[in-house]
């Protein structure tokens, strides 16, 4: 994969690097708080495990869908 051809960067990556992060945070809410404290725009997702944590059911759903 370490190929020599030019890699095209996605516009979302160019914006991230030039204008800074605009973020969606899934997980530790303190990471969102730290971003907010630095003046970055961030939205916390109130995430819960899929299918109320029933992994067997979740795998089954993945197969069905």
């Amino acid at each position: 994969m370490m190929d020599n051809k030019q890699l095209n960067l996605h516009p979302a990556l160019e914006t991230l690097v030039s204008r800074g992060p605009v973020a969606v945070n899934l997980g530790l809410s303190s990471f969102a708080e730290a971003l907010r404290a630095q003046g970055a725009k961030v939205l916390q997702v109130d995430w819960t495990p899929p299918a109320s944590g029933d992994e067997e059911l979740s795998r089954l759903l993945d197969k069905l869908l």
Binding site: V17, R19, L26, G27, F31, K41, Q44, D46, T48
Partner: protein, 507 residues
């Protein structure tokens, strides 16, 4: 004392939030000890050590919440449990309901360019994939993904020209904004790419302390340069730094890459239009043939990069003779071993290298040499350097940079061993880290020193603090608190490891 526990099925909360809830419960009148945790195997073991091993805890799983209380009376404990919901309810910012899925969040914030993901490993991969599919770059703090999952995500990101930092990525600084555990450093002309989180933190703080600054510091995750992953995120990061007008020097920081990956990475780096300083911790000199400057510690990397942009690095020369002699004179005859209790994985790795170069083999739960794998990570032997941030200690609980509990207990345990001479510690400041890392460990450090002194010995505590004056914890305040407690504080983790090695030389 009454011990009471309860299990609530399917009640997921993040580990940092639960640590705060535990602390609030411990502040309730009559409550001696409180542990509010998800029932991961690691946490079940810790609960059992605290005397909580009821069958309902053993039957609980990682999505089930356990509340274990030790209180003056059963009534006190039951009273607190009755009010548990009040402790578990989160305050919502601006009183608005939060979106519950990535897609719902993107409807509210369509201009998003990054997903920050720190979910438990088993849920992180599908969310990271969904984010990449929706054209978001990803900062993936979670660990525990399989190599296959990581490769497939990185191939997708590489194909789309998106940046996937991680899995197992602790830190990054993008356009001056710190992600995960990052220090407050000035913006500048030096760009870094690292597969080691605390390595990147040390590098950026040393650059800052030398008066220079960071353009971008991009984390790639600990396995990126393995032959399985082939440096896919490193390649995207390199492209970013080459095009970034603010970056004048590029510093890749890593442990030795896989052989094939190194063979392909070197020509790519040599072709780079900007000067490159290659920092490879523990690379054997005969494994690398390149015209690029290669250095072995974060300290040397920072010094070289600073020189390349025309600055002058902090002098690392300190006259150690006197403090060394003073400390050595205080040991009793049978004291000979170093015990390093690290929060930073790279600091643990680098210390093993430095000790090895001085002819000292150290045991570790994250060993350089598999022959020196600690049989039981919770018990030290001989010289031991423990990475307290590794998976076996952090599953289902916050990292030691946030939660000092396990490091505190380990420090006291080391003081029980009559052959211990030196305690080697790291303290990591910055965003998201503990608000007072030194203050949280000082009582344990003092107690450990007293225990050793009470049997006629002397415990020398050697430390380094990774941080800046601008970090919320303030570097100088943390250093002086350590020095007031008789701790020897060195300017970098490499220096601290060298000092520790010299303390036990010839013992």
């Amino acid at each position: 004392m009454a011990k009471v526990c309860m299990v609530r099925k399917n009640a997921y909360f993040d580990s940092m939030f639960l640590m705060q809830v535990s602390r609030r419960l411990e502040g309730e009148p009559g409550v001696e000890r409180a542990a509010v945790v998800l029932a991961t195997e690691n946490n079940k073991r810790l609960l059992s050590d605290l005397g909580f091993s009821a069958p309902e805890i053993q039957a609980a799983g990682p999505n089930d919440l356990v509340v274990a209380l030790e209180a003056e009376t059963e009534e006190v404990a039951q009273g607190v449990l009755g009010r548990l919901d009040a402790f578990l309810s989160r305050r919502q910012p601006e009183g608005e309901a939060l979106p519950r899925t990535l897609d719902a969040a993107l409807e509210l914030l369509p201009e998003a360019n990054l997903a920050v993901i720190s979910l438990p490993g088993r849920y992180a991969a599908p969310e990271a994939r969904a984010a990449l599919e929706r054209n978001l770059n990803v900062f993936l703090f979670s660990s525990g993904l399989s190599v296959e999952e990581e490769l497939s995500l990185k191939e997708l990101a590489h194909r789309k020209g998106l940046l996937l930092m991680g899995p197992d990525c602790g830190t990054a600084i993008i356009a001056g904004v710190g992600l995960g555990f990052a220090n407050v450093v000035r913006r500048g002309r030096i760009g870094a790419i690292a597969s080691s989180g605390t390595g990147l933190q040390e590098f950026t703080t040393l650059v800052h302390r030398a008066g220079e600054g960071i353009s971008q510091a991009i984390g790639t995750g600990s396995r990126d340069l393995s032959d399985e992953i082939r440096g896919l995120s490193t390649l995207v990061a390199l492209e970013v730094l080459e095009r970034d007008p603010d970056t004048q020097v590029i510093v890749p920081i890593s442990k030795p890459p896989g052989k094939k990956t190194l063979g392909k990475l070197l020509p790519r780096l040599e072709r780079c239009e900007k000067p490159v300083v290659l920092c490879m911790l523990g690379i054997e000199p005969d494994r690398i043939t390149t015209e690029l400057p290669v250095v072995e510690t974060m300290e040397e990397a920072a010094a070289q990069a600073v020189r390349l942009v025309g600055g002058s690095p902090e002098s690392s020369f300190k006259d150690w003779e006197k403090p060394l002699a003073q400390e050595r004179a205080r040991f009793s005859r049978n004291q000979r071993y170093i015990r390093g209790i690290f929060a930073g994985g790279t600091f643990c790795y680098q210390a093993q290298l430095i000790l090895q170069r001085q002819g000292i083999e150290a045991w570790s739960n994250a060993p350089l040499d598999p022959r020196f794998a600690l049989p039981d990570p919770t018990t030290s032997k001989g010289h031991t350097l423990v990475d307290m941030g590794s998976e076996e200690f952090t599953e289902g609980r916050p990292h030691p940079m946030i939660d000092p509990t396990l490091r505190r207990e380990r420090i006291l345990k080391e003081a029980e061993d009559e052959e211990v001479a030196v305690l080697l510690l790291d303290f990591i400041l910055g965003h998201s880290a503990s608000p007072d890392p030194v203050g949280e460990l000082l009582p344990a450090i003092r107690e450990a020193k007293e225990r050793v002194a009470s049997r006629g010995g002397y415990l020398c505590v050697v430390a380094s603090v990774c941080g800046t004056e601008e970090d919320p914890q303030r570097l100088s305040a943390q250093v002086s608190a350590l020095e007031r407690a008789g701790v020897v504080v060195l300017t970098s983790s490499a220096q601290a490891a060298r000092f520790a090695a010299q303390l036990v030389e010839g013992k």
